[in-house]
Amino acid sequence: MTSYRDAVRTALQTLLREDPRVFFMGEDVGRYGGPYAVSKGLQEEFGEDRVRDTPLCESTFVGAGIGAALGGMRPIVEVMTVNFSLLALDQVVNNAAVMRHMSGGQFEVPIAVRMATGGGKQIAAQHSHSLENWYAHVPGIKVLAPATVQDAHDMLLAAVEDPDPVFIFEHQMLYGIEGPLDTKATPPSPWKAAIRRPGKDVSLIAYGGSVHKALTAAEDLEKEGVSAEVVDLRSLRPLDRDTIIGSVSRTHRAVVIDEAWKTGSLASEVSAILAEEAFYELDAPVARVCTIEVPMPYAKHLEEAAIPQVDRIVAAARRSVVGG
């Protein structure tokens, strides 16, 4: 069994070892080993040139990564949390995402950017939000959300290989989970959603940290005689519409779980896809289970109450299946 953080580290090691164009940079990723200890030991192994500590200025080091990618390198940039990444949003939206388009296809930006997202660690309203939908809104970049140990490894490899900017959102509560890691197997396409658990009564559609809660909810629902299918979106841009619609066409009911705020969320997007393309398959209104629309509270019980939890998923699924 391997931990999620070790899986990311293994992928980083492989990339640094096998491709001299790859280098890794971010805040505290070198000497300190990364805020989530993902890059522990990498600076010793690969040196200060290839594992670089950056100043606390996201706009600068994300921009530098974009420049290096334009220059032929394969940079991997770590941003400490998605909240901080907003400082670099101009570089992302106005440079990384548009360069291929504005150069008439002459330039590509093969950068991979990793960052932590999500709440649950009591680090309050400036370190706990889920803003991956902001990124998924932007054409020209791709967005991944690995929920499993295997995906944490495979998706980083795929992101570096991809010729376009790829943003990877790692839920901060997942770094400690353990699971099997096969570094030899051919990974499934990162752009396709996965059915993590088949079921026939309701589809629980989730991504990232919420996938595990959806799976627990599915187990609870099974005890009540409700068979829930769990869909892991995996790729947030592009969204795998076929798998989403395919699942709901079998179950005819959908609960979308998203740790972002409900308004304008990926859950909204998935719901709209279902309304647009699977309307005649729906036997109940689509339900969304999202974070309560408040800045993330610091107090433990309030934070727990704000974030989607298993009981809220179960209740939404139950309402969808039995009505009421």
């Binding site: 595990h212 627990t216 005649y280 036997d283 109450a305």
Partner: protein, 444 residues
């Protein structure tokens, strides 16, 4: 998971007997496979499955009689599609560390938790609702009684009232509250949604309500022949009530066709002989290619033309009864092949071994009563089709050719059309096309 349901093999079928299972649990089935035989008022019918997958459960035993729409078997399509397509069932690791299990565990009865603990144990004495909710309910003129609250302990919230308000208004416009999927199912099964009871939220009709819709027809008639007659009665009554028929008739000189047929039959073995009916059948199919508005079905208030021509053949059963199974793609293949298919279809119709797709897929019907000597037929359209062709006997008649009266074998053909879809002019053009085709039998 897909459900294999008792199909509706005709607009007026309400129940069917699952006569034989052709598959067992664990069998792999592909779309189009015959997996069961169903006994209906029209006889024994082979029923195809529309999914590909593995038979997971057989829910109805052989001999059991169930309403249309009853789930007969469950087909596991997931494991098949998982094996064939991309979204594979990838095992996810169990959250192992303490930090994660904390995030996924439910804060069950944590003091100060603002999460709802569920409503089951609270003894309600009238609905729980805040003053704001009560005022809003008064404004909307809706009763709080019977509304299921989504708040703590079943408390009715303002959000709950938004839905109810909408319900009340929509009820006034007599709109049926039904899920899109259930609406589609009901349409496919020919069920009237205004008569279905809804058990979903706010009385909404859901798929389960459509599935369990009970047959509400009159009591069961005694014999199969009586049951079949009842089906015909219902279909023909509906046709006469709903379809504004028009008729056009034409006498067609069958001299060339019969001469060609005699010559052709004399030169082939007895097993390859054709009957004149097959020439008419093919000519009807070819004429329809140019007159698509007659080759259509009436669906949801409009005609939907069919790209393919499946002529239904009215087959009377010795001892009473009538079925009109489709000869699929009647306009394709050789005449010998069409003859073989027609012979097979008629004998299966008479022995009660029709397939469900043959029962339901006809795009027009051809009825021929000439064998018994009648001169012409005024047929009634078989809904949901929009046209029907009737043939009388081919009889020796005085016929004027180049100013001379000569005896010719003449057949009287009648086209019955649905005036909502086409008009007499179209029918007339179809009949002259049919006439022209029958003058050149070698080209059929």
């Amino acid at each position: 998971m897909a459900e294999f349901v008792m199909p509706s093999l005709g607009a007026d079928m309400t129940t069917g007997v699952l006569a034989t299972w052709r598959v067992a649990v664990g069998d792999h089935v592909s779309q189009g496979d015959i997996i069961a035989e169903v006994e209906t008022d029209k006889g024994l019918i082979e029923v195809e499955v529309f999914e590909t997958g593995v038979v997971e459960r057989l829910l109805v035993e052989e001999g059991e009689k169930v309403p249309v729409g009853t789930v007969l078997a469950e087909i596991d399509t997931v494991s098949v599609s998982a094996a064939e397509s991309v979204p594979a069932t990838v095992p996810v690791s169990e959250p192992a560390s303490a930090t994660v299990s904390a995030t996924v565990s439910v804060p069950a009865s944590a003091p100060g938790s603002i999460l709802s603990a569920g409503s089951s144990e609270v003894d309600l004495d009238g609905p729980l609702a805040s003053p704001a909710v009560r005022r809003r309910a008064h404004e909307l003129d809706v009763s709080l009684q019977g509304i299921r609250g989504s708040g703590q302990h079943g408390r009715i919230t303002l959000d709950d009232l938004v839905g109810v308000g909408r319900r009340a208004r929509s009820g006034a416009s007599e709109r049926v509250r039904i899920s899109p999927y259930a609406r589609r199912m009901a349409a496919e099964r020919g069920l009237d949604i205004s008569k279905l009871p809804g058990t979903g939220p706010g009385g909404a009709i859901q798929a389960s309500d459509v599935r369990s819709a009970k047959a509400s027809g009159p009591s069961e008639p005694a014999s199969p022949a009586e049951r079949m007659q009842r089906v015909i009665a219902a279909a023909m009554t509906r046709a006469n009530d709903e379809i504004p028929h028009y008729y056009v008739e034409q006498s067609i000189d069958m001299g060339n066709a019969l001469a060609w047929l005699r010559k052709s039959n004399a030169s082939v073995s007895v097993n390859e002989r054709l009957v004149s009916g097959v020439l008419v059948l093919r000519a009807v199919a070819l004429a329809l290619r140019k007159h698509k508005s007659l080759n259509a079905t009436w669906q949801g208030g409009q005609a939907v033309p069919s790209e393919e021509v499946h002529v239904g053949l009215a087959v009377s059963l010795r001892g009473g009864g009538l079925v009109a199974p489709a000869l699929r793609n009647t306009d394709e293949g050789s005449l010998t092949d069409l003859m073989a298919r027609m012979t097979d279809l008629v004998s299966r119709a008479r022995s009660g071994a029709l397939r469900s797709s043959e029962i339901t897929s006809a795009t027009i019907t051809l009825t021929s009563l000439g064998e018994r000597g009648v001169e012409s037929v005024t047929p009634i359209i078989f809904p949901p089709q929009v046209a029907i062709v009737g043939c009388g006997a081919t009889l020796e008649r005085p016929w004027v050719v180049d100013g001379q009266v000569v005896p010719r074998p003449v057949m009287r053909v009648t086209l019955g059309g649905d005036h909502r879809v086409s008009n007499g002019h179209r029918g007339a053009r179809f009949l002259s096309a049919l006439d022209r085709l029958l003058q050149e039998p070698e080209k059929l």
